[in-house]
Subunit: 213 residues, 2 copies
DNA sequence: GTCTATAGTGCGATAGAC
DNA sequence: GTCTATCGCACTATAGAC
């Protein structure tokens, strides 16, 4: 049997295995790690769960976990990038002459699709994990801060001057954060955009309030 | 020799070592660690500096470092508690009938003493270290968030209702953060309270702006 | 003060996809 | 052949437990 024969055999085997795709490399590795991590964190606690355990629970090694996520906390924070894109898309889609505050409102409105009512229970579970660990809270704040910075950049690109751009961007981040917290509160029924609108109105009232009590 | 005798002996030894005070426990250990840490971080970078090196540079062990600071980052963030107290003191000192926005302004005004012009260069050095490391930025955001939460509690105790209290508290934190960033910017000459006042005015303008461009 | 578990990195080897 | 995901191993620093 020649070397060529061996190659041919191996190739035919490869073709057969391809019809049953991804035997060793199953797709969506990151997603499976995220799901497994949330489940383990919720069950046993964040600190009581090692990166190795998460990896093993989906048939991978610790080293692979860290290939997908730069650190252990990050496994809970994928998707924030998509949220940022939604915000920026909302700003980009706003009409030319929009005021800074209208751009903020456009950004806030654009994330409605991310938070349908069905996602509330998942969001609550995830948040309950985050709320129980300071390190996770730090990461969450950091992500929100990065989001606000991105909004600030977008506003500046649309010609909004400083310090208005930074103020408006951080206000958007602030309102979104408070709205999200309220949205996942037990018993809350309003949509996240409804909550956002009420908060924006309240912010207007707050800053515009007269100086008499 | 009874158990009581042993206790007496041990006590007398303790008294003797106490009469030669603070030979190995020099005062201001935390402060010396903080100063050494900042210097090393600025010179070599945060990640390139180990906790053991910081400790050794002031004649202490790594273990002692972690007794003073729960983690390595924390050595850069002491003093935030004093800042929080200043904010809360400003709110407490505000007159009875103050509006939420007046309470916010009172809180912002109360931190002027923390940021005299002489402290700018030190603040800049510290910030340059923080800006170069995401982990430190996360801690900084977290501290600001804790500060805003504390302000929110104080506002609620003064009878401010939700969601106004949270909105006002986070606005205060936001304005302070932007003001501080501006205050340490090269060439900036205004006091931090002056910057804060201008930002508050700008926030009023932003939220109250008409809907025409 | 000592010991230890875990987080996280660096690098070389392997193996599948193309 | 290239590219990339995975593994395996050695290693350090952090941080907590004892």
């Amino acid at each position: 049997m020649s070397v060529t024969d061996i190659n041919i055999r191996l190739k035919s085997v490869a073709v057969i295995t391809y019809t049953e795709p991804m035997v060793r490399w199953q797709p969506g590795t990151s997603e499976r790690l995220q799901a497994a991590a949330l489940e383990l964190f919720a069950g046993r606690g964040y600190e009581q769960t090692t990166a190795a355990e998460i990896a093993q629970s989906v048939g991978l090694t610790e080293r692979t976990f860290f290939r997908h996520f730069s650190d252990k906390r990050e496994v809970l924070f994928r998707g924030q990038e998509l949220l940022t894109e939604a915000f920026l898309g909302g700003i980009a889609a706003a009409p030319e002459g929009a005021t800074p505050m209208e751009l903020v409102a456009a950004a806030l409105d654009s994330v409605a699709d991310f938070f349908p009512s069905e996602r509330r229970s998942h969001a609550r579970l995830r948040q309950s994990v985050i709320d129980q660990n300071p390190a996770l809270q730090e990461r969450e704040r950091h992500k929100m801060s990065v989001l606000a910075s991105a909004i600030g950049d977008a506003l500046r690109e649309r010609g909004v001057a400083e310090p208005t751009a930074t103020l408006a961007a951080q206000s958007a981040g602030m309102v979104f954060g408070i709205a999200f917290t309220q949205w996942i509160r037990e018993g809350e029924e309003r949509s996240i955009t409804d909550i956002e609108h009420e908060l924006l109105a309240e912010l207007r009232r707050l800053t515009g309030a007269s100086h008499t009590a």
